[in-house]
């Protein structure tokens, strides 16, 4: 698990652009299929895939990409940190809600 989370951290450090988002979604899909706690990766797969699809084939300004990342990075890193620390399920649920809320605010 820790290796996967480290990979995810590295991907999240990069800018948000379509190819990177699809790559994160693809990794999360595979990890969700290969873990006892698939929900976080399943949610992340859908969030990143949805974002990539929204931004594919449209003129994405640098400003918009940066704004979305700035709103999402903190809850995403919080989730990764929580998973790394193996926090209880109730806490993971709260972290997932934070990521989801941040995403929904960005893409109302």
């Amino acid at each position: 698990m820790s290796v996967r989370l480290q990979i995810l951290r590295e991907k999240l450090k990069k800018e948000f652009y379509v190819d990177n988002l699809y790559e994160i979604a693809f990794l999360c899909r595979n990890w969700a299929l290969d873990t006892g706690i698939p929900a976080p990766f399943f949610l992340l797969e859908h969030i990143f895939k949805d974002m990539a699809m929204r931004w594919e084939d449209v003129p994405l300004t640098v400003e918009e990409a940066e704004q979305v990342k700035s709103k999402m990075i903190e809850p995403l890193e919080g989730l990764v940190g929580g998973l790394e620390a193996d926090v209880p399920a109730e806490e993971v649920f709260g972290l997932l809600n934070r990521v989801t809320s941040a995403y929904l605010i960005c893409f109302k």
Binding site: E15, Y17, V18, D19, N20, W55, D57, P59, T61, A65
Partner: protein, 211 residues
């Protein structure tokens, strides 16, 4: 802030010149600070759908592509969805009007997850001579996916035809691999756009147009 900007009309076919003129009018070529799919930054963006989904744009794109395809013998024309969808429809329609019908096909970026699980829709027979089309070539990923798909079923790619070549390495790489790549419009990293001087000179860039 995104603004439309200058375009230069140079030598080229009447149809290609019309395409550039319409692209300008329809706001298909915009200037600003963009993050491309590959993560590269760019001061300009070509929105092919703004062009190919306009009535006049669809017609002239179809005509310009047909003029190129008429110079070579192909059994079908197509490319990766969604960039190539409307182009394929346009060129097929024009080919019928011109009395030299060329069937078209589209390649799904991902195969259907349910039902037929087909990767190619439309008219593509194994062993055909085909032209691959796309609205814009940057890194060449979309074109490569389409090429791989048609070659998997034994088709031979005779030509790659794009509306805009951004000259970001994609067309150059394909040419190195032996594919003929023709663009109607050259869009240079500086942001300058021009009709390709001689789109029938395959395998050569036309940077001299801007000199």
């Amino acid at each position: 802030m995104v603004t439309s900007s200058f375009l230069e009309l140079r030598m080229g076919s009447e149809a290609a010149n019309k395409v550039l003129e319409i692209a300008k009018r329809e706001g298909a070529l915009i200037y600003g600070d963009f993050t491309l799919s590959s993560g590269k930054k760019s001061g300009h963006y070509f929105d092919g759908k703004k062009l190919t989904l306009s009535p006049e744009g669809a017609y002239w794109v179809g005509k310009a592509l047909f003029e190129e395809l008429a110079k070579i013998e192909v059994d079908a024309v197509g490319g990766l969805s969604i960039g190539a969808d409307f182009m394929a429809a346009a060129v097929t329609l024009v080919s019928h009007l011109e009395g030299k019908p060329i069937p078209s096909f589209i390649v799904r970026d991902k195969p259907k997850e349910h039902g037929t699980k087909r990767k190619v829709e439309g008219h593509l027979k194994g062993g055909s001579r085909v032209a691959i089309i796309d609205d814009v070539i940057t890194t060449g990923n979309s074109v490569r996916k389409a090429i791989e798909t048609v070659e998997e079923v034994g088709c031979k790619v005779i030509e790659v035809l794009v509306i805009v070549d951004r000259h970001e390495g994609g067309s150059e790489e394909l040419k190195q691999k032996g594919y003929d790549v023709t663009a109607l419009i050259d869009l240079w990293p500086s942001g300058k756009a021009s009709v390709s001087e001689a789109p029938d000179i395959k395998g050569e860039t036309q940077e001299r147009v801007l000199r």
